[in-house]
């Protein structure tokens, strides 16, 4: 595969040819590219979703080398032996995968989108960027639809229960990576899946990922997506679940790395009786800007959604949370909750929180809460009175702050890594403050 420079029509055609795509997929890319060219980048002064996110910091032209394999192999990524299946992507190419034989025999698929095209072409055509996330939503969804790399395809057939969790690892060696994850959990099926995004510390890159989770009737899905990009990676991504009737979904995001990251995280409650939990942690420090926009989109009656986003902000870190509970006129008996908690730890830290309710039905129970505060000195004092040194007590409190969300991540080794990543940030922060927070 040759290297592709620039977000151009030639790149679209070359990428599609290199991936040996069917005509319909190339046509879809080209349609998106045409619209991409006609759509301006979001106006960060007037567009509410972008108002607090300075896109001028991203040099799109310089980053427009579409990631292609550069000789890196899966060895760069830690193997997770507690997952029942893994798929590893390096620079937009599947470099290795394994799946428990019993699951494979039941029809479970864990591979790349392109490898699944021959066997599951119709399923992909039905669900890939059609009704969960649509190309025309904005500049970046169009960019993604035109230039997506070889992404993840995971399918769990009707009624199949996946015990244990699957793990997808995504690594970026440089340039632009547009990783797509299409996760389809059919009626009555069950799946736990974790996606991890990483890059080495010296990598400069742009990531424009989209994760689509389609949960069928009474399906049960636990998903966690964790990004630990290096400090020179910029990201604009979408994660969304489309919940069918009676589906129960938990979508958890860990937003830790990157220089600037803007994620749109959404739950579309499209089937009666569905229930979605949205959970998130973020911990910007050292000049990082981590920005999360969530939507709990209640389209039909009798659904339940619950959101909990926890953010700590270290020195010169900036955190933005904007969450919307949107209740359509038909969505009676909606029960929705939203909570955003922020812990301000660093100097020159800034946190913006905008929890929004838009309610067009009357028979609903919707509420939200948001808080921005510092470590509670009374609790610190209590822990010190039990013999802990001050620094230790503070560390314990910050770690404990994140625990309610981290404990929801289904893979033990990923949980441990998240706890480690949080601990490391606390240590770095404490080190620059003379051991105390």
């Amino acid at each position: 595969m040759s290297s592709l420079h620039g977000f151009t029509r030639d790149s679209v055609v070359a990428l599609s040819a290199a991936l040996a795509e069917p005509d319909w997929l190339l046509a879809k890319r080209l349609e998106a590219f045409t619209a991409f060219e006609q759509t301006p980048y979001p106006d960060t002064r007037s567009d509410e979703d972008w108002r607090r996110c300075d896109l001028r910091r991203i040099d799109f032209d310089a980053l427009a080398d579409i990631a292609t394999p550069n000789g890196a192999t899966a060895s760069a990524v830690t193997a997770a032996d507690d997952a029942v299946g893994t798929a590893t992507f390096v620079d937009g190419t599947l470099v290795g995968s394994r799946l428990n034989a019993e699951l494979a025999a039941q029809g479970v698929v864990l591979t790349s989108l392109h490898q699944a095209l021959p066997s599951h072409g119709e399923l992909i055509r039905t669900h890939f960027m059609t009704h969960c996330v649509q190309p025309g939503e904005g500049k970046f969804t169009l960019l993604h639809a035109a230039f997506f790399n070889q992404g993840l395809f995971c399918y769990v057939p009707r009624g199949v229960q996946v015990d244990g969790a699957l793990l997808a690892q995504v690594e970026l060696g440089g340039g632009s990576l547009l990783h797509h994850s299409l996760i389809i959990v059919d009626d009555g099926a069950r799946l736990s899946l974790v996606e991890e995004y990483r890059s080495a510390a010296d990598v400069t890159g742009l990531s424009v990922p989209i994760t689509e989770i389609i949960a069928g009737r009474d399906a049960q899905v636990v998903y966690a997506g964790v990004q630990e990009w290096g400090p020179k990676v910029y990201e604009v991504g979408v994660k969304r679940v489309l919940a069918g009737p009676g589906a129960q979904v938990s979508l958890c995001t860990g937003n830790l790395g990157g220089k600037l990251s803007k994620e749109f995280i959404g739950a579309a409650l499209a089937g009666s009786g569905s229930s979605v939990d949205l959970l998130g942690i973020s911990f910007p420090a050292a000049g990082q800007h981590l920005d999360q926009t969530t939507v709990q989109d209640h389209r039909v009656a009798n659904c339940h959604s619950n959101l909990r986003f926890l953010g700590a902000v270290g020195d010169k870190g900036r955190s933005v949370f904007r969450g919307v509970i949107s209740v359509h006129p038909e969505a009676q008996q909606t029960d929705a909750y939203q909570k955003n908690e922020n812990l301000l730890l660093g100097d020159k830290a800034r946190a913006d929180s905008m929890p929004v309710l838009e309610i067009l039905a009357d028979d609903v129970k919707c509420s939200h809460g948001a808080s921005l505060s510092h470590l509670d000195n009374e609790i610190v004092f209590y822990l010190m009175s039990r013999g802990l040194p001050r620094g230790e007590a503070q560390r314990m409190m910050v770690a404990g702050f994140f625990e309610p969300v981290i404990e929801q991540v289904p893979v033990e080794s990923v949980r441990a890594r998240l706890q480690h990543a949080v601990a490391q940030r606390i240590d770095n922060l404490a080190a620059s403050h003379g051991g105390l927070l």
């Binding site: 007037s46 929890p355 929004v356 309710l357 039905a361 609903v364 509420s367 809460g369 921005l372």
Partner: protein
């Protein structure tokens, strides 16, 4: 003389008597020939004309022209409510109904007096519950009085025009300093064409312990009312200012766009209460802001019941340590109404505190929106701020939105926000009905309970009026 609070039967009779609709109670209009009105539309000539009528000094005209230039250069806001119905060319910007402001009620022209009599304004003054009254009819203040005891202590309660003539230093020091003409399009418009309003100065240490009242009335169709209010509470003083507003129901829309600036100096306290009951064809686009210095307290009590669209976010900018800001807000949106109300709390000094309590009710397709900002600047340690907003939806056509913004740039703070949206609880309703109340009365009782925490903060006269107005709004909410 105060109305006996516990004479419940009297109050019930009164309430029953009041259960007409808005058209009967407030919606009448007087067929009178105005003393003067400007041509429709807004031009530099009109601004100069208004300034000339008021015989203003050059510096005020200059401010007006600056405001006009900014107004013309600024696009309409693209957020909040639907402003497309406003046609700036159709509005009459200045309407004068009476030759001058009177200080004796008897001297006010009869038809105008009748209007305010029907609205119960002088009655309130006669009953000695108020320290002073101002009444504004269209563009001009027609009546002003201040009780002698406050006058003796140096309290000023004037129309801003009088203040410009007699106290130019005070006006120049503060006018447009808290809300500059460039703050927003409607503040610019007000700066250009302002007329009427109140000017209040309370000297150091003076406690005006009964409220000052102003009553605003738009009578002319398609008129704009642009009153300008400036309140200066000097160190350690206290004043409570209460305003009410109504208008007749015309087929064409009117525009009310006030600017209210308040300075609360060290240790002073100002409470500003509004019962906004414009008819449902008034665009109510108001900018209200106070600055609070060390240990000062600013309280906005804001009830929005009328208007077609209200966009109003009373603000407190806390400039020195110990300042406290508070907003208690009620909004009621019925058919065809959009109440886009809220508050801004700007913490610009350490150890400042603020509290916002907002209650909104929507029915018959009405839309109520809470929009608020809590901002903490770097270095403002020890800030505590809390926001609670609750919304009640009375039927399936109503809509409620909540848009709080929290921007915090300092770690040593405690900021909390909670909001809930719900309908009238079936269980509460069932319980009350099982005790013999009909559905109408039961819902009325639940609504009254819902807004009680704010109504109880109003002076008694106004609390009663508030409850009456809610009754009016609730009329026929069942079946």
């Amino acid at each position: 003389m105060a109305r006996p609070v516990n004479a419940e039967t009297d109050q019930h009779d009164e309430l029953r008597a009041l259960r007409g609709d808005y058209a009967e109670k407030y919606g009448f209009h007087d067929d009178r020939v105005n003393v003067f009105e400007t041509k429709r539309g807004l031009t530099e000539d009109i601004v100069r004309e208004i300034s000339a009528i008021k015989d203003e000094p050059a510096w005020m005209l200059e401010k007006r022209l600056e405001g006009l230039r900014h107004f013309l250069a600024t696009p309409m806001p693209n957020w909040g409510g639907d402003l497309t119905g406003i046609n700036f060319d159709e509005i009459t910007y200045y309407v004068k109904a009476s030759a001058q402001a009177e200080t004796a009620w008897e001297d006010v022209p009869d038809d105008i007096k009748r209007t305010f009599d029907r609205l119960g304004v002088p009655e309130a003054e006669r009953s000695a519950l108020l320290g002073g009254v101002g009444a504004q009819y269209d563009s001009e203040v027609v009546y002003h009085s201040l009780k002698a005891q406050w006058e003796e202590q140096g309290v000023l309660f004037l129309s801003p025009e009088e203040a410009v003539q007699n106290h130019p230093d005070l006006v120049q020091e503060h006018f447009g300093k808290i809300i500059p003409y460039a703050d927003n399009k409607f503040a610019a418009l007000n700066t250009a064409v302002w007329s009427g309003g109140s000017f209040i100065y309370v000297p150091p240490g003076v406690h005006v312990d009964i409220p000052l009242q102003a009553y605003f009335r738009i009578n002319t169709a398609n008129a704009g009312q642009f009153e300008r209010t400036l309140i200066i509470a000097d160190e350690g003083s206290f004043v409570h200012y209460v305003e009410g507003c109504t208008a007749p129901i015309y087929s064409k829309d009117s525009l009310h766009s006030a600017v209210v600036e308040i300075v609360v100096k060290r240790g002073a306290r100002v409470r500003y209460s509004t019962i906004q009951n414009w008819s449902n064809n008034v665009y109510n686009l108001v900018t209200k802001r106070a600055v609070a210095y060390a240990d000062a307290t600013m309280e906005w009590v804001d009830a929005n019941l009328g208007s077609k669209l209200t966009m109003k976010y009373p603000a407190v900018v806390m400039l020195e340590p110990g300042a406290h800001g508070e907003v208690l807000s009620i909004a009621f949106a019925g058919a065809g109404q959009h109440q886009d109300a809220g508050s801004k709390m700007v913490h610009a000094a350490p150890n400042t505190t603020s509290r916002i309590i907002s209650k909104s009710i929507s029915k018959d397709g009405g839309r109520s929106t809470y929009r608020g900002l809590c901002k903490v600047y770097p270095g403002c340690t020890g800030v505590k701020a809390n926001v609670v907003c609750d919304a009640l939806l009375l039927d399936d056509k109503a809509r409620s939105d909540t848009y709080p913004y929290m921007e915090v740039e300092e770690k040593q703070v405690d900021i909390g926000h909670e909001a809930s949206v719900s309908r009238v609880g079936e269980e509460q309703l069932f319980y009350l009905m099982s005790r013999g109340l009909d559905e109408d009365a039961a819902i009325g009782m639940i609504v009254n309970g819902f807004i009680e925490p704010i109504v109880k903060e109003l002076p008694m006269e106004y609390a009663v009026e508030m409850n009456r107005l809610i009754e009016l709004q609730m009329e026929g909410s069942v079946g």
